[in-house]
Amino acid sequence: MKNFEFLFTAWMVVWAVFFVYEISVARRIAQTREEIERLKQQLQQR
Amino acid sequence: MTTARAAAIILAKELRLEFRTRELLTATVIFALVVVVLFSFAFDPTAAESRRYGSGLLWIAFLFAGSLMLNPSFAREQNNETLDALRMAPISSFAILLGKILANFIFMSLAELVLVPVFAVLYNISLAGIVWRLILVLMLGTLGLTVTGTVFSAISAHARMRELLLPLLLLPLLTPLLIAAVESTASLFAEQPALDRTWLAFLTGFDIVFLTASWLLCDHLLEE
């Protein structure tokens, strides 16, 4: 296939970008969930 | 009190405020001149090029100078929280916004009144026979600039780095206006000056769209 490198790079870019974004969102969700648990416990103690 | 009357009062206040010191106007004119001169160093304009690129340069100078000039519109109100006082008055938010839009329109137009002849001299472009049509294009373009710019001034007044934020938000939004204004002006500066109907209609449409949007959304702009 002619110009395969460009095609492949494009393909990779599409998935890499979405993939990285999804991972970052998932990680932040987990972090925020932990934070919420922590804050809820703090609230209980009052 | 009707919106028109309230807007007129706000307009009068803004004008009085500015004409006391005239610092904003002066700074705007000087800055636009600086841009014009800088361009002459960056690109060396011969007569033919002046006609082609002149209109672009003119409007870029206006846009840059305008973005700086529009900031104080609402930023000034932050200092003594005078915006709260305005809001408590029995006038609609649109009156406040409209008054400021009109004030900025007048300031910008005054600046242009000085700049266009200077520009014509510096770049050797004859204004004979196109003055009224040029004024029409300038007015339509300036209206779009001031409507959107005043709204964004209200928005960025609440943000940090507002001097940087305002042009950053405004300039991409105004690219259609820039294109239309530049093309209209260019066709007036050409060998056979002509008024480009399509771009004029576009400019008018642009102004109507954003004036309407400002009217519909003004309450959310100025609320506490």
């Binding site: 460009f6 919420i36 609230l43 | 928005i155 940090r160 093309e183």
Partner: protein
């Protein structure tokens, strides 16, 4: 949780099929050959971008009308995901242009307009970052999003009236338009696949924003209770069945 895993797996499968179709099933194009296959992802990401920005526009209006913060959460999600799709489009564009036209970038109508869109909505994200108060952040960015969305057709119209070098629209308009039927099917598959990925990202981002809002509310609750406690300690009258 299980539903989520199932859906993700399904979408992953969809992506795989779409990719396979784009790379191997679709027929080779006459002039550009293999590189033309970028077209399937390139167009699909534009489509996803417009959908995301439309969601943001709708959510912004809904927020201003109802005042419900959930709409604001949806708005920022729409813009963020839209910017992601826009970035993908702006990267795949030059990757296509370079082998075909020999240049990485060209200031033609479509590409320029989309670049401006990217700048506009990045501005939205910057605005949100620079406003502290959550209520103001929500309403001001909603107003901006509406202005930006209204600008979208104007940007495209202005650029189109002004100049064009892009391949003329293949599907809608002009002579020589119309796609080979297999190509159309592959395109639809890719459109659908990337659309689904976009929706997934949108939903996740929305959930994140809702969780953030919840965390912020809890923090606020804790802080105000601390303040009340401090007041109570300073003034015992407030504690004993006073206020």
């Amino acid at each position: 949780m299980k539903a989520r895993i199932a859906i993700t797996a399904l979408v992953a499968l969809l992506i795989f099929c779409a990719g396979y179709a784009a790379l191997f099933i679709a027929p080779d194009e006459a002039t550009m050959h293999a590189i033309q296959r970028i077209f399937y992802f390139h167009v699909a990401s534009w489509n996803a971008m417009f959908c995301a920005f439309f969601v943001a526009f709708y959510a912004s209006v809904a927020y201003l009308v109802t005042g419900n913060r959930k709409w604001d959460a949806l708005g920022v999600s729409g813009v963020e995901v839209g910017v992601i799709c826009c970035t993908i489009g702006l990267i795949t564009g030059p990757l296509w242009a370079r082998p075909v036209w020999g240049i990485w970038w060209t200031w033609d109508a479509k590409l320029t307009s989309t670049f401006i869109l990217w700048l506009l909505f990045i501005g939205y994200l910057l605005l949100r970052g620079l406003v502290e108060d959550p209520e103001k952040k929500a309403s001001l960015s909603a107003v901006f999003a509406i202005f930006a969305s209204l600008d979208i057709p104007l940007v495209y119209l202005a650029n189109r009236l002004w100049r064009t070098q892009h391949p003329q629209p293949v599907i809608a308009g002009g002579q020589g338009s119309g796609l080979d039927p297999t190509m159309s099917k592959v395109l639809l598959l890719c459109l659908f696949a990337i659309f689904c990925v976009m929706i997934l990202a949108l939903i996740d981002r929305y959930r994140l924003e809702l969780l953030r809002n919840e965390a912020a509310e809890l923090k606020f609750e804790i802080e105000s209770r601390e303040l009340d406690a401090a007041d109570g300690a300073a003034n015992p009258a407030l504690q004993k069945g006073g206020l």
